[in-house]
């Protein structure tokens, strides 16, 4: 089993204490410019979790709420997955194990009663901070229901929609913010990579199957980074990668700069529907590999075929618990029947998010690695 469980070491806790006393984000923590993967003494690839909670997120949250969060973080809640602000409702922190409230004593608590309450004012201030005092500049994003902030974290917005005819013009009276913390886990795809790589400069067409919240996108991002940069440990040279990032989750572009490291030979087409985007990238960027998230909409099958016809490899993901479940979805089923994919990689969260469940050879449905739970 490949557990990508996160390490929260001693050093982290010390830093949290500093953050509490000074209330200033710790500058030395997070995001170092080190190479993503390093070899351990035993030659195995190490896994490194990087999130920039203190540097990128806390300064963007209304002071009162940020102080409460950084106070509670001392008690080892990291890595957090979500921070939820709802008007006149308790503040909720979600980590991999469960949801937490912040009690009146500042301690994380499991019960909502008497816990820290977020006000409407907090939400307004937070949104102002997140938009760098320029809500007008983020209007297009707000219209779509989320904004991306520095560090690649996405903030979902709920409120009252202002309509302009059929389309949404704006969201006002914001009542809820959901800050989804994007944890880049460098090296999380290392167990998977060797099943993807065909030879020094080629990979297999791959479909990653995983239930929600099991690290699909995180692994996809790490794969993109690795095949773009090259994997010397596996003798793989880097190739040109094109990411069609319909939901802005893989690269998390902020004003034209990917906030997540997606590799040095990677081009990103942001916010474009997959079926159109894949065809555009074939023509415009001449990639060797196209990577996209959550396949299965109408038109995706045709787009995948045009990718393959152009001699380009594809790596994509689909929601699901196993391969047989995918067959209930028409567009994906057709892709399965066309034998488009040479590798299926199934993930679950039996041992933390991103646990590798099995690897299947798509040409003969042979289980290459795994528990054999797969039903063909």
């Amino acid at each position: 089993m490949c557990a990508l469980s996160h390490k929260s070491g001693q050093s982290l806790i010390i830093i949290s204490k500093q953050a509490r006393t000074s209330n200033v984000p710790e500058p030395e923590y997070d995001r170092c410019g080190e190479p993503a993967m390093k070899e351990n003494s035993d030659g195995k690839l190490s896994v490194k979790t990087m999130s920039s909670l203190r540097k990128d997120i806390l300064p963007m949250i209304s002071g009162r709420v940020a102080a409460a969060i950084s106070g509670a973080l001392i008690y080892g809640l990291e890595p957090l997955e979500e921070i939820r602000l709802r008007a006149e409702k308790p503040l909720v922190l979600q980590n991999w194990s469960r949801e937490w409230f912040i009690g009146s004593d500042g301690l994380p608590s499991a019960k909502p009663a008497g816990s820290f309450i977020v006000t409407q004012e907090d939400i307004r201030t937070t949104l102002e901070l997140m938009s760098e005092n320029s809500i007008y500049a983020y209007q297009d994003e707000i219209k779509n229901g989320f904004i991306t902030i520095r560090g690649g974290h996405r903030v979902g917005i709920a409120g009252r929609a202002v309509l302009d005819g059929e389309s949404i013009k704006n969201i006002k009276d914001i009542s809820g913010l959901n800050i989804r913390i994007s944890n880049q886990i460098f090296g999380c795809s290392s167990k998977v990579l060797k099943y993807l790589i065909k030879n020094a400069a080629d990979i297999y067409n791959t479909l990653i199957i995983s239930p929600p919240q099991c690290g699909k996108t995180t692994i996809l991002r790490d794969i993109a980074r690795n095949i773009s940069n090259g994997v010397p440990e596996l003798g793989f040279k880097g190739v040109k990668v094109a990411i069609v990032d319909e939901r802005s989750e893989i690269a998390a572009m902020l004003r034209g700069v990917p906030q997540n490291d997606v590799g040095l030979r990677t081009d990103v087409l942001d916010g474009c529907p997959k079926s159109i985007g894949m065809k555009m990238m074939i023509r415009s960027m001449s990639p060797k590999v196209i990577i996209t998230d959550e396949i299965g909409n109408d038109g995706d099958r045709e787009a995948v075929h045009s990718v393959l016809n152009a001699g380009i490899r594809i790596i994509t993901t689909a929601h699901g618990y196993n391969i047989s479940e995918l067959k209930s979805r028409r567009e994906v089923l057709m892709l399965l029947e066309d034998k488009v994919f040479e590798r299926y990689i199934v993930l679950d969260d039996s041992d933390g998010p991103g646990t590798l469940s099995e690897v299947v050879d798509g040409t003969d449905m042979r289980v290459i690695w795994g528990s054999g739970r797969h039903v063909s």
Partner: protein
């Protein structure tokens, strides 16, 4: 006799000069109000056609804008060093701090302060409405200031010369 003539000339010159300076101050206010109008117009254009964030836009404006650019400059500084929580607070502080360094009056200050109230915290439409409102108010102020200037400018000038002459006559 020679000294008397020289003294009278010096008195006459300096009083005229004083008058000239006072009259020039009168024309400063309409000038600055106009440049403020230009800067606000620039702000509107910049946020309509590029979706740059407030700090970037203000920085560009402050580089373009003479004496009144100081409000924009100070706002950016206050935002950057973290002494203001949001844009409207920073603007308010900047206006209160820098108004003394300009020729602007109390009425003008009120307009600037109300402009800051919704700075950066509404959508584009709201921002533009706010800017237009302030531009309209400033235009009225310009008119008033212009009238004032016409009246006072010539008055100060002639008062300077005539006052000088009167002084000379009295002294002689």
């Amino acid at each position: 006799m020679f000294l008397k003539v020289l003294g009278s000339i010096i008195v006459l010159l300096s009083s005229s000069f004083l008058g000239y300076i006072l009259s020039r101050d009168c024309s400063k206010r309409p000038q600055q109000l106009r440049s403020l109008q230009n800067l606000l117009q620039m702000f509107e254009n910049q946020i309509s056609y590029s979706s740059d964030v407030l700090a970037e836009v203000f920085e560009r404006i402050s580089r373009a804008g003479g004496e009144t650019g100081i409000f924009f400059r100070t706002t950016v500084d206050l935002l950057k060093d973290g002494s203001a929580a949001n844009a409207s607070e920073a603007w308010e502080k900047a206006v209160r701090k820098c108004i003394g360094r300009t020729a602007l009056k109390r009425d003008d200050e009120q307009i600037l302060l109300s402009f800051g109230k919704s700075l950066g915290n509404t959508d584009l439409e709201g921002q533009i409405k706010n800017i237009r409102l302030s531009l309209g108010q400033l235009a009225l102020q310009v008119e008033k200031a212009e009238e004032n200037r016409k009246k006072n400018e010539s008055m100060y000038k002639s008062l300077g010369v005539l006052g000088g002459l009167a002084l000379v006559i009295i002294l002689i």
